[in-house]
């Protein structure tokens, strides 16, 4: 072996070398070297010079190896260990001589762990973990768990999460198999300069640049709270409405129509459990209380193998577990509701709770308001009643047995109550003959989700989540019409009618989900679930009672049970540094009324990263849907029924191809995603279904058809710095065709908004004030507008007549969604002010008060005869809704 002694000099190829050699003090020698991507050889020689040791190693052995180190120690062993960490080199010391050897590279070892928030111990979902040696990157799952295959050499894990300070943790995989890493929230550090809050690694940047997913978005609670919304009621759905490719539906409501999909083609999940009715107050607010939300995953283009059951999108909401460190609480009072949030540990310090309660308080205004109205009206015998309220509650208990096992109980309850009606008393003459009338309607609907689950680290590479759940949606509309006529206190006419209309769905769900990392390049997810559905599409009852107490009752009830099972497997595979492949399949079985339907839905997406700043992706997803919600209105009414595929109906399928390009520069990511989606067996009411008798089988009222949509979504995003937000533009087409609708002709979808522009900006002025603005502009929704009249056969006359003013006229049916409403645009503003104990949120919905057109209505000026006589004409009028609406809320933290 040739021995060579090399004199030190700076390496000319080093990009950022800063070498500092400090002569050792007389009393205590210190070894100090620092460099970024510096030649290991130079670093080594510097240490040797400081130590005054001799060294020996084969010529050229250290050439081409670079390290990033910051060594400052008095221990030579430590200095050399740090220097050679992550390199294939070892060292030996004999006397004053150091010999460098080439180490045997052992096979990789596995390290797993959890990333949590400092103090609260809340798992951080989607935190990015990077290994300094192997350059492996992992993301934490819903439990904050990650698993990595590393070289069995000491290395450093760097963990980052938006809004949190990044942290570097030194590990030695040869000696430790698990690690628990806690991150500190940036905002929790008082007096911190705003610049320090900048988080260079954003979850959505990682999704855009690193993963193979297309059309995926991760929202944190902050994202949701920073979106200006109507009444200042933070709402995850309304935040997602600002994404390209997502149509919002009707003005002000929490609708979601993704890439030409229908309202029931979105899978809403609360901690992995489906939720069927996600609206309060006909969609003015969604059922997801922002206080309880930790973060949200939203998919609109390619879908992980885990998800199935809806055609167009998946929204998975993860709720907070609660702090294990201390009790926290907040109370929020807004324009429309009040909310209380509590979380903290139980005395055993192993169990945490998280409770959020929200209740509207419209009724606190309407009840006294109506009482005053009723008291002041001249006919005091006549009274009106109306009130509305909604309540929702989220509860979560999490018990951590140890670092590897935890169990949780989750409960959600949502309840809406609407009541309206009149009571009238009429008195006649001296005898005080009287008539009493009562017409009261009550509509009540809600959801319950209850689940119990257990998370466990089965091995360093295998994580399992087991969950048993019950989810329920119910709706009940009751109407009482009662009339009694008295003559001299003697009842002589009595009629009572009670109608009750119910619908609902109950699911019992068992599921197991696993994530497995058999090798550093593979992240495999697999699992299975079984669901027993209990549908009650309708339960209608009517009781008619007359004066003789003769009761005529009718009760029709439809119950349909169905069993659904699914299994999935998917692999996220790093084929090379530039190429990443995500592929898998979801298999599902749906059994209803002795008919079984099977589907195998492949999913594949690929990312090619020719440059670190450029990713190009492509993907294909097939989705299958076995249940659907029937609706007769763009409002999301609780009376809309969920039903499974029945009789001769076939499952709905969608096939979607997406391609996208993502370019990152500075703090920006620019993206373009194009898609084509084909849908089969989509369901809708057929033409004239409403004239069929009420007890007509549902399948005869429905028709199945096909649809397609295509478009491209452009977006530029800035996720870090004082100014964050995005600007997006969507170009899209969506249409449908059914044999039983529109004479079998294609027609555009109602929310076929050809162009859509969204601008969402948030600016942190200082540590107290931040402002947000969002502007939406889009092509108007489509509506069915009957623009012509015609003479109809007069049902009131024995013989038909022919003069227009003698014959009734009616609207002529000219095609579905044949008219596009005018261009829609709106600016919303909000400002947040942090105080010592609270947060003020001021918002203005529709800041420049552009009341947008939600429909076009007919203005009939009179009968045909008078039209002729006075030259009056019928006309069309635009119906505009929602002016400027200011709101304010205050959240008190305690």
């Amino acid at each position: 072996m040739k021995q060579t002694q090399i004199t030190g000099s700076l390496n000319r190829f080093s990009l950022a070398l800063l070498l500092l050699c400090v002569p050792m003090l007389l009393s205590a020698a210190r070894y100090q070297v620092r460099g970024s991507k510096a030649p290991v050889e130079t670093m080594f020689k510097s240490i040797m010079k400081q130590a005054g040791c001799n060294y020996i190693y084969p010529a050229n052995m250290l050439k081409g190896t670079f390290v990033t180190v910051n060594i400052d120690t008095s221990d030579l062993t430590s200095a050399l260990n740090q220097l050679f960490e992550g390199t294939p080199f070892g060292w030996k010391k004999k006397g004053n001589n150091i010999t460098i050897t080439r180490r045997r590279i052992p096979s990789k070892t596995v390290i797993s762990g959890f990333v949590r928030e400092t103090g609260t111990e809340e798992p951080l979902i989607g935190a990015i973990v990077r290994d300094s040696v192997s350059k492996t990157v992992a993301a934490t799952n819903n439990a904050g768990f990650f698993s990595m295959h590393l070289n069995p050499v000491p290395s450093t894990l760097t963990v980052s999460y938006p809004g949190f300070k990044s942290k570097a943790v030194r590990i030695n995989p040869e000696q430790q198999k698990s690690v628990s890493i806690n991150l500190t929230e940036s905002f929790s550090d008082p007096g911190q300069d705003l610049q320090e809050l900048v988080v260079t690694t954003d979850r959505n940047e990682i999704i855009a640049m690193q993963t193979a997913d297309l059309g995926r978005l991760n929202l944190t609670q902050t994202d949701i709270l920073n979106t200006p919304v109507i009444f200042g009621e933070a709402d995850v759905i309304k935040t997602i409405q600002l994404q390209p490719g997502v149509s919002a539906g009707l003005e002000g409501l929490a609708g979601m129509y993704v890439h030409g999909g229908a309202h029931d083609e979105n899978l809403y999940m609360l901690d992995n459990i489906p939720l069927y009715q996600i609206n309060h107050f006909a969609g003015l607010f969604s059922a997801f209380n922002a206080d309880a939300i930790k973060n949200v995953d939203f998919y609109k283009s390619t879908f992980p193998a885990k998800y199935n059951g809806r055609l167009s999108s998946v929204m998975d909401v993860h709720t907070k577990e609660g702090s294990i460190e201390k009790f926290n609480g907040s109370f929020k009072l807004g324009l429309t509701s009040g909310a209380l949030f509590l979380d903290g540990p139980l005395p055993n310090k192993k169990t945490t709770y998280s409770i959020s309660l929200r209740r509207s308080w419209f009724d606190l205004l309407t009840i006294p308001g109506l009482a005053i109205y009723n008291a002041t009206r001249s006919d005091k015998e006549n009274k009106s009643t109306a009130n509305y309220s909604f309540t929702d509650a989220n509860l979560r208990l999490t018990h951590r047995f140890n670092d590897r096992n935890s169990s949780s109980i989750m409960f959600y309850y949502g309840d809406d109550h609407l009541k309206w009606g009149t009571t009238n008393d009429y008195y006649y003459g001296e005898d005080r003959d009287r008539t009493t009338e009562k017409n009261i309607s009550r509509l009540r609907w809600g959801n319950i989700v209850a689940s119990v689950g257990h998370n466990t680290v089965l091995s360093e590479t295998l994580f399992g989540e087991f969950r048993l759940a019950y989810t329920r949606f119910w709706s009940r509309l009751a109407h009482l019409a009662d009339r009694k006529d008295y003559a001299k206190d003697e009842l002589f006419i009595s009629s009572t009618r009670n109608y009750i209309v119910r619908n609902g769905i109950d699911d019992i769900i068992a599921r197991a989900d696993f994530s497995w990392s058999p090798a550093s390049a593979h992240r495999i997810t697999f699992g299975a679930s079984a669901t027993e559905h209990f549908f009650m599409p309708e339960h209608n009852s009517a009781d008619l009672t007359n004066i003789n107490n003769d009761i005529s009752s009718a009760d029709t009830k439809t119950n349909v049970n169905a069993f659904e099972a699914s299994a999935y497997i998917g692999d996220d595979w790093d084929i090379s540094k530039a190429l990443r492949l995500n592929f898998g399949a979801n298999l599902s079985l749906f059994n209803v009324s002795h008919n079984s339907h099977f589907s195998a839905d492949p999913r594949v997406s690929v990312r090619w990263q020719p440059l670190p700043s450029l990713s190009i992706k492509g993907g294909y997803s097939r989705m299958t849907q076995f249940v659907h919600q029937l609706t007769q209105s763009p409002l999301s009414l609780p009376t809309d029924q969920w039903i499974p595929i029945m009789d001769d109906m076939k499952p709905q399928h969608s096939d979607k191809i997406s391609v996208g390009a993502y370019y990152q520069f500075s703090n920006y990511v620019v993206s373009a995603e194009a898609y084509m989606k084909w849908m089969r067996n989509v369901v809708d009411y057929r033409d004239f279904y409403y004239i069929l008798p009420d007890d007509t089988p549902m399948s005869e009222k429905l028709t199945q058809g096909k649809g397609d949509s295509k478009g491209i979504d452009f977006m530029i995003t800035r996720r870090s710095g004082r100014l964050t937000g995005h600007v997006s533009y969507s170009l899209m087409w969506a249409r449908r065709r059914f044999d039983g609708i529109n004479h079998g002709q294609w027609f555009p979808a109602r929310f076929d908004n050809r162009h859509k522009i969204n601008i969402l900006l948030s600016y942190d002025i200082n540590s107290k004030w931040s402002v947000n603005a969002s502007w939406t502009g889009m092509s108007g929704n489509r509506i069915t507008l009957m623009t012509q009249d015609y003479l109809i056969l007069d049902p009131g006359n024995t013989y038909i007549t022919a003069e227009p003013w003698e014959t009734p006229i009616a609207d002529l049916n000219e095609g579905v969604n044949n008219f596009r409403l005018p261009f829609y645009h709106r600016l919303d503003l909000s400002a947040n002010l942090k105080t010592k104990r609270g947060l003020w949120t001021f918002s203005i919905y529709n800041a420049y008060c552009n009341m947008n057109v939600i429909t076009v209505v007919k203005n009939r000026v009179g009968s045909g005869y008078y039209n002729e006589l006075y030259g009056l004409k019928d006309s069309f009028k635009q119906f505009r809704l929602l002016p400027l609406i200011p709101s304010v809320s205050y959240t008190w933290f305690f």
């Binding site: 003479l791 109809i792 076009v856």
Partner: protein, 332 residues
């Protein structure tokens, strides 16, 4: 605490303000740039009690006055059971086409109208069997009319009276097939204030949800779904105010119980849904419900070809009315 009160007052103020604004919607005129082409309309109601009249017209834009909408130059052919029963001529006075043919039950009628401007319109219907009325009866009575009142000399109030005839019509429904019915009054003599029925069979086809807003068909139509193949007695009321004005007039109740063709039933159902008082009537005008269309069975255009076959009751109630009027005066 003082500060909190101030905040709450502020919130309440904004809340009230917002409530006022939200409840404020507005409308404004719009000129629609829609170029819709008019279509041909064909309407026929075949009835064994009448010749066949045919109305041919065309649609017109809502924003224009209906002018010359009758199509006078159509070539119309009418066939019954496959045989041409022409000629069909245009009656300029009635502005209808008429065929000198009276249909009978079971006739399969096909109509075809060729127009120069609106193409060919066609449709078919089958005249249903006449309603099998087994018996009918009626009972008259006097009831207080709380809608009319008179001030007496002493200041007291006297309520008016109404003369009510309650009819009970028993008919048998054929076991085969689905039958559709319509009951109506064709009174054309004497003051008839009201005719109505609260018979539960008229709730047929109305969903409980719609029943909250309207509990029966305005057009009094029903199917035999609830009575299939059985006898059924339907009740029906006529009401007249008791007044001297009516004294001596011919007072005849004319009530018809029709069996109607399925197309006619669907057509009338669609009219009930569109112009009735169900949920749709509330939601459709403000764009929150898909507009309901009127049922049509005409190929190449719109309109309806329908048929009916009725049993008619003609009941002169002048004698009872006169007696009731006398009794009412005596009692007062």
């Amino acid at each position: 605490m003082k500060q909190m009160k101030k905040y709450i007052s502020f919130i309440l103020f904004l809340c009230s303000f917002a409530s006022i604004l939200v409840s404020t919607s507005c409308t404004s005129d719009i000129d629609l740039d829609i170029k819709s082409e008019p279509v041909g309309i064909l309407n026929i109601l075949a009835d064994p009690d009448s010749l066949i009249y045919i109305q041919i017209s065309h649609s017109w834009p809502l924003t224009q006055r209906p002018k010359d909408v009758i199509v006078k130059d159509a070539s119309v052919t009418l066939s019954v059971n496959g045989l041409d029963v022409g000629p069909v001529r245009y009656d300029a006075d009635k502005k209808l086409y008429v065929c000198n043919f009276t249909p009978k039950e079971g006739d399969k009628i096909e109509a075809k109208a060729e127009t120069e401007a609106y193409g060919t319109l066609s449709g078919r219907t089958t005249v249903p069997e006449k309603t099998h009325v087994e018996k009918w009866s009626y009972e008259s009575k006097i009831m207080t009319d709380y809608n009319s009142m008179f001030a007496n000399d002493n200041g007291s109030i006297t309520y008016g009276k109404i003369f009510v005839c309650e009819y009970r019509i028993t008919f048998s429904d054929p076991a085969e097939g689905t039958q559709y019915y319509m009951i109506r009054s064709d009174n054309d003599s004497g003051p008839l204030d009201k005719f109505f029925s609260i018979d539960p069979i008229l709730n047929d086809g109305i969903s409980p949800f719609d029943a909250i807003f309207s509990d029966r068909h305005d057009l009094m139509i029903f199917s035999d779904r609830q009575i299939n193949g059985k006898d059924y007695t339907i009740s029906y009321q006529t009401q007249r105010s008791l007044s001297l004005i009516s004294f001596g007039q011919q007072l005849v109740d004319r009530i018809s119980l029709y069996t109607i063709s399925e197309d006619y039933y669907l057509y009338l159902r669609s009219l009930c849904v569109k112009y009735g008082s169900g949920l749709n009537e509330i939601l459709e005008p403000i764009g929150l419900s898909e507009p309901r269309a009127i049922y049509s069975n005409i190929n190449g255009g719109s309109g309806i070809i329908a048929s009916r076959n009725g049993f008619h009751i003609e009941n002169n109630v002048a004698e009872e009315y006169e007696k009731a009027l006398h009794d009412a005066w005596v009692s007062n």
